[in-house]
Amino acid sequence: MEAALTRTPIATVGIAALLIALAVAHPAHAQRAQAELACAGTITVHVYDCTVRLSRGGRPLEGARIVVGADMPSMPLAHVVRPVTATPGAIAGEYTFRLALEMSGRWAVKLRVEAPVRDQLIVHYDFSETAASPARR
């Protein structure tokens, strides 16, 4: 493998091209979505039922596709939570999902909104074995 890494000019050129493409691109700003998260424990340890209310410009964000993940700030990258897709809830802008975590503690819940707008929101939440509450920061 070492030899392959050092003797593959095509791969090197490809990676260089990708880096050049990243160098010339510039970021664009868009109106951000807001999220209110509420989670509650279930009878299963470390499994939580969550509801998120999404809004944008003060109005409920309807018809959104949200993929939810989570990371533990005190152990970044050490946990890989299987992403789940939220389903529309009872009222406009509300979505529900079930989150299965590995352990208790403070988690950063990542809400990746893919439609009708693209956004990524981070909400910190404290999870115990069977209960959950918004993180006090």
């Binding site: 493998m1 070492e2 030899a3 890494l5 050092t6 791969a11 090197t12 490809g14 990676i15 990708l18 880096l19 050049i20 990243l22 160098a23 010339v24 691109a25 510039h26 970021p27 664009a28 700003h29 868009a30 951000r32 470390h46 993929v67 993940g69 990371d71 700030p73 005190s74 152990m75 970044p76 990258l77 050490a78 946990h79 890989v80 299987r82 992403p83 590995e102 352990m103 950063a108 990542k110 693209r118 990524q120 981070i122 920061r137």
Partner: protein, 298 residues
């Protein structure tokens, strides 16, 4: 590849930078518990570059590497006069100082109608360059592994050079290396800066992967993991730390064999390997055997 698998591979790639940063120091005989600080410096620096000042990712990443190297030099200059455990303790203390500095750092500016920048313990949100470019998780995975491949290739090249032999000689016996005319302090300062730059590079990619960072991301837990990856993977080749990350994140975390008890299993694995293979799985003897077989005439 599903989103979960992409997530596992991305985390393996990002943690590999931290493992490689610790590895670069280990081959010169220095044990650092503080590489997470330079990972953090890189994360914050790159975030400031793209989120606050609209720099392209490559420019911000270069600044992150320079910042990581500079921060490592600031720590290295006074601490490299210490030896062994004392150096390790000093790096741990310095890393905690950096974490506290991140907690005290409040520097925000208005970008597109919102306040962006480090906000103390609240962290640094809105590092959205990759997201706003429409680069999906799979695309970012390619970026991470592309950069990682370049880094590993560079390290392999250095290891096979005269410089690589010098670094290992210093790691094996610094007194003897010094008697041969090697300026140990100068060489180690260079290594410390290079390790800081590697950690800064990883931090820059990490910040753009998660879109936010906070001081507690960069505490001792991350540093211990980085060091453990290098130690269990092996000090014989730059591929060693990558193997260490794969064992932890790919095998133990990815398989979910031990669920919440994984950290205990990982700790036990590190302790066991340090007893039976003090230089890790891919140690110098194994790597030398590979090279000997590869170059032997058939």
């Amino acid at each position: 590849m599903d989103a979960y698998t992409v997530g596992v591979f991305t985390n393996i790639g990002l943690l590999s930078f931290l493992g490689l940063s610790a590895y670069v120091l280990l081959i010169t005989g220095e044990l650092s518990f503080g590489q997470q600080a330079f990972f953090g410096v890189g994360a914050y620096a790159a975030g400031v570059g793209t989120a606050m000042f609209g720099l392209p990712l490559v420019v911000a990443t270069a600044a992150a590497m320079a910042s990581g190297a500079l921060a490592a030099l600031v720590v290295g200059l006074p601490t490299l006069r210490l030896r062994g455990l004392y150096f390790a303790m000093a790096t741990l203390a310095a890393a905690e100082m950096f974490r506290i500095l991140f907690e005290l750092l409040h520097w925000q500016r208005d970008v597109g109608g919102e306040r962006v920048g480090p906000d103390g313990t609240q962290g640094f949100r809105g590092i959205r360059w990759v997201f706003e470019q429409g680069i999906e998780a799979a695309g970012f995975l390619i970026v991470v592994y592309g950069v990682l491949a370049l880094l590993v290739a560079a390290l392999v090249f250095v290891e096979r050079s005269r410089l690589g032999a010098t670094l290992r000689a210093v790691g094996e016996d610094p007194e003897q290396a010094a008697s041969l005319g090697i300026d140990i302090l100068r060489l180690k300062l260079g290594v410390v800066a290079a390790a800081g730059a590697v950690a800064g590079l990883g931090g820059a990619l990490y910040a753009h992967h998660t879109t936010y960072v906070e001081p507690r991301n960069f505490d001792i837990m991350l540093g211990v993991h980085g060091l453990a990856y290098a130690l269990i993977g092996g000090l014989g080749t730059a591929l060693g730390p990558l193997l260490g990350v794969v064992l932890d994140i790919g095998l133990l975390e990815g398989s979910r064999l031990f669920a919440g008890y994984r950290m205990i299993v990982f700790g036990g694995l590190v302790a066991l390997l340090l007893v039976i293979r003090p230089r890790g799985i891919l140690d110098e003897r194994i790597v030398h055997g590979w090279r000997h077989r590869a170059w032997r005439p058939r």
